[in-house]
């Protein structure tokens, strides 16, 4: 959590019943600036009391401070202050409900939202002004609905939109229909598309995976859900020997447009057979594309790309990210939105050390970068997004700039994704390295169940911080190393 969202501010918002005015600063991408300013103007015009409150409020200076810090943190965002008067009971409860879920679902997890409390004492001048303000607010809510979108909902909307756009797309797996998905990713889809296109299957991974591949041979675009990728081991023959190789072996006669998706990697407290990362496994096989989203925008854009792709795609989600919320731009909410496969994203620019990660490790790396920045180390964080094809050029360009590399993954170290990244950097940018590459991976043991041991087996933020400091030849205190 970034420093400018204090827990105090969230507590204050949660106690909104006692407030009459709420002030929010919404981050707006530059391209939406004009519209955002207009909305802000409207809201201020229709809420003279708020303007008044703003001027009078004793907290104004603190608010300005918050905004300044937020701007410094998110250079490319412009902050529009938005004020809502909570004077009318009905709209008040709606706003409260929204703010409550907004705070619960997103702000605690977000570092891209500035939330600034203000206890104004103003009252609404007239109902009309309040109604206008609330509608302006909801316009924003609507516009930013996605910005507090959970990864689960992002996946759901991507599936929904692709199923609606192409009748050949169908979802198949254990518990995807009546139960709405083991992790509720397919929520509502059975009702919308019926049992032919949201297909509950018997509990046979080899069966429904093979059937999905057969359906893809015949022109459908199946999305096969594994309850976890650990269970895909029972069906790996169909993924590797059938899906990945058929197009090549048939001389291009048989394309296999199929997506294998489901949670991958470590969750929490589910032991060895539910906690393995298969990124390295599947990414070692030509013919497959392997994607691993981190944020909601990744999840939406990459899943849509995967479904539209003519090749078989292994789509590795993460159970612990399903419930996390991330801001999603208006562009990403558009049904035509799609991310390129094979292109990494620089989540945070830096100049001293490159941290390459995927899936949940990206979040850890961003947190590590925050900590490092306090110590004067500017870390560049690369979110791979695509494990195969691997965006070697982005990685190498970054290493050539920072001259230091830390790789982070939750999978096992040997022949892992980090190993491949090391290899490409050694092959292409060896002369640029100023320090040995630091490779952070899960412990080389099956995942233990006991929480204390489990924590030791999965990379943590402090591991990344420590490795980055080592790469920068900073001293690492013993207490941290221990």
């Amino acid at each position: 959590m970034s420093p400018w969202i204090s827990s105090a501010s969230i507590d204050t918002v949660l106690q909104l019943n006692r407030l009459s005015t709420l002030g929010l600063a919404l981050p707006v991408p530059r391209r939406d600036l004009a519209r955002a300013k207009l909305c802000a103007k409207l809201s201020l015009r229709y809420m003279p009391s708020c303007r008044c409150a703003r001027a009078k409020s004793p907290l104004c200076s603190r608010q300005g401070e918050h905004l300044a810090r937020a701007r410094a943190h998110l250079g490319s965002f412009f902050f529009v202050p938005l004020w809502i008067d909570l004077g009318i009971s009905e709209s008040r409860s709606r706003v409260l409900r929204f703010v409550d879920s907004f705070v619960r679902n997103s702000c605690q997890k977000l570092d891209r939202f500035a939330l600034i409390e203000d206890v104004g004492d103003c009252k609404a001048k007239d109902d009309w002004a309040v109604a206008a303000a609330v509608s302006t607010w909801f316009l924003w809510v609507e516009r930013f609905r996605g910005s507090c979108e959970r990864v689960r909902d992002a996946l759901n909307s991507a599936l929904d939109e692709e199923m609606s756009a192409d009748p050949k797309v169908f979802l198949m797996g254990e518990e995807v229909g009546e139960y709405q998905g083991a992790y509720k990713v397919s929520k509502g889809l059975l009702d919308k598309y019926g049992p032919d296109r949201v297909r509950d299957t018997p509990i046979t991974e080899a069966g429904f995976t093979g059937i999905g591949v057969g359906a893809a041979y015949y022109g459908l675009r199946p999305v096969v859900e594994f309850m976890t990728f650990n269970f895909s081991m029972q069906a790996i023959d169909h993924i590797i020997n059938s899906a990945a190789k058929s197009n090549y072996m048939s001389g291009g006669q048989m394309s296999v447009p199929i997506v294998f998706r489901g949670p991958n990697g470590a969750a929490a407290g589910v032991g060895a057979q539910h906690s393995q990362c298969y990124a390295a496994w599947y990414s070692s096989c030509p013919g497959l594309k392997v994607l691993s989203p981190y944020s909601s925008e990744d999840a939406r854009g990459l899943l849509k790309a995967a479904i539209r792709d003519p090749d078989p795609v292994v789509f590795l989600e993460n159970e612990l990210l399903y419930g996390e919320s991330f801001p999603v731009s208006a562009e990403a909410l558009d049904s035509s939105f799609c991310l390129p496969i094979g292109k990494a994203k620089i989540e945070r620019e830096g100049k001293d050390v490159t941290i390459v990660a995927y899936s949940r490790a990206v979040g850890h790396s961003l947190k590590a970068a925050d900590i490092l920045s306090k110590e004067g180390i500017s870390a560049e964080v690369i979110n791979l997004r695509s494990i195969r094809p691997l965006d070697r050029s982005t990685i190498n360009a970054s290493v050539r700039k920072t001259n230091r590399l830390v790789t982070v993954e939750e999978g096992f170290p040997q022949h892992g994704v980090g190993a491949e990244i090391c290899a490409t950097v050694v092959e292409e940018s060896f002369g640029y390295l100023d320090a040995p590459v630091e490779r952070i991976a899960g412990a080389d043991v099956p995942m233990p169940y006991a929480p204390n041991l489990e924590r030791m087996a999965v990379p943590q933020v402090e591991d990344i911080v420590r490795a980055a400091k080592r790469a920068c030849y900073r001293s690492v205190p013993m207490s941290v190393t221990a």
Partner: protein
Amino acid sequence: MGVWFFARSSNIARQLKGQVGQGLLGIWRFGFSFGEIRPTHYSDLGDSGTLFSIRRFESAKAQKRIDDEEDRVLDFPGGRVTCNSQMAFIPESPEKQTLQCYRVLDDNGQTIVGSKFKEINEEVAIKMYSDMVTLQTMDTIFYEAQRQGRISFYLTSMGEEVISIASAAALSMDDVIFPQYREPGVLLWRGFTLQEFTNQLFGNKYDYGKGRQMPIHYGSNKLNYVTISSTIATQIPHAVGAAYAMKMDKKNACAVTYFGDGSTSEGDFHAALNFAAVMEAPVIFICRNNGWAISTPTSEQFRSDGIAVRGQAYGMRSIRVDGNDALAIYSAVHAAREMAINEHRPILIETLTYRVGHHSTSDDSTKYRPVDEIDHWRKARDPVTRFRKWVEKNGWWNDEDESALRNDVRKKVLNAIQVAEKVEKPPLAELFTDVYDHPPSNLCEQERLLRETVKRHPQDYPVDVPV
């Protein structure tokens, strides 16, 4: 997967709270009717579809009614069943006799009196027979070509020619074939030319697989014949998936898959049959039970009464057919197709036959089975000869036609080999295409580097790879 429930209860329940509660309720709702026992006589049950489960359990003959008290229906979530106070296990095999085999032609090519079969006209019969002869000739010559080292591998259909050809004749071109590797007869029937076969075997640039698959792994999009997979039994669930796709598209066609007795031991076979039944997919499973999975006899492969009996266990119709009787196969497949498409249901056909040839050119079957046995099947039980007798008896074929056909086919096969051998091998570019729909940057780079290297050091590279 047994573990799925664990995952659900430990993680999801925590995350999803109320929704999970509802879901679980839905699942357990069945349980509430557990104790309900309604005394019902068999005669009261009528003939409605809901009785399916009762019939299923009734198959155990050991369940005898002792008195009225026991003649009750128990309503379990797993099925409505009658109960019996006598403990009785279902026997491991039928008590009296094994499942009967459908047969129309006797060993002399005469139709058995009273037999029911689908009529075949002269044109179809002659094409069927010509294709059988072509397949035999191909097998003989290509097998020799492998022995001479001209191709790396071959696998014959000897003894099983009529299964693929007669079944193909009963299907339509829209039906999609998911073959194993002993069904080139289907391709022949559908019009794959000798030159096309030979191009594949020699892996030249005209091979539709671009020289990427080992010999006999034919495939043709045009003829709805899915490229053969070396891994055993994977095609069976694929066929179910394609059948499901056809059902969704409301196509007037079905998927047909072929496999051997050995394949039925693979998990894929069981998964596919169960899925096909549950998904009500229009698919025909054709098992060639030829007695041998390479060197493993059926007695060491399974203990059931062959394959057909398993269909019932999965809730699908099945039939056992004499695999050396072209008319019986044609009729059974024809009827199966009608049922599969019109009633949206899978059908299992077990054809009993004998693999006269070795498993492949990598095998010498005389090491594990008597030569006499092979000779007996080759000479006395040959399915092609049997069909020829029937065609001749109809006055549609004679010795003259026979020798003309065999000479003609032989010349064509030899000619095809000569042509295929002279055709260039696939160009270097084909090493990299089709891994993906569009080549990714790493493959483009590899190709560029390889081309540069070949150009720089031409003397170190073979001349038969066009750059």
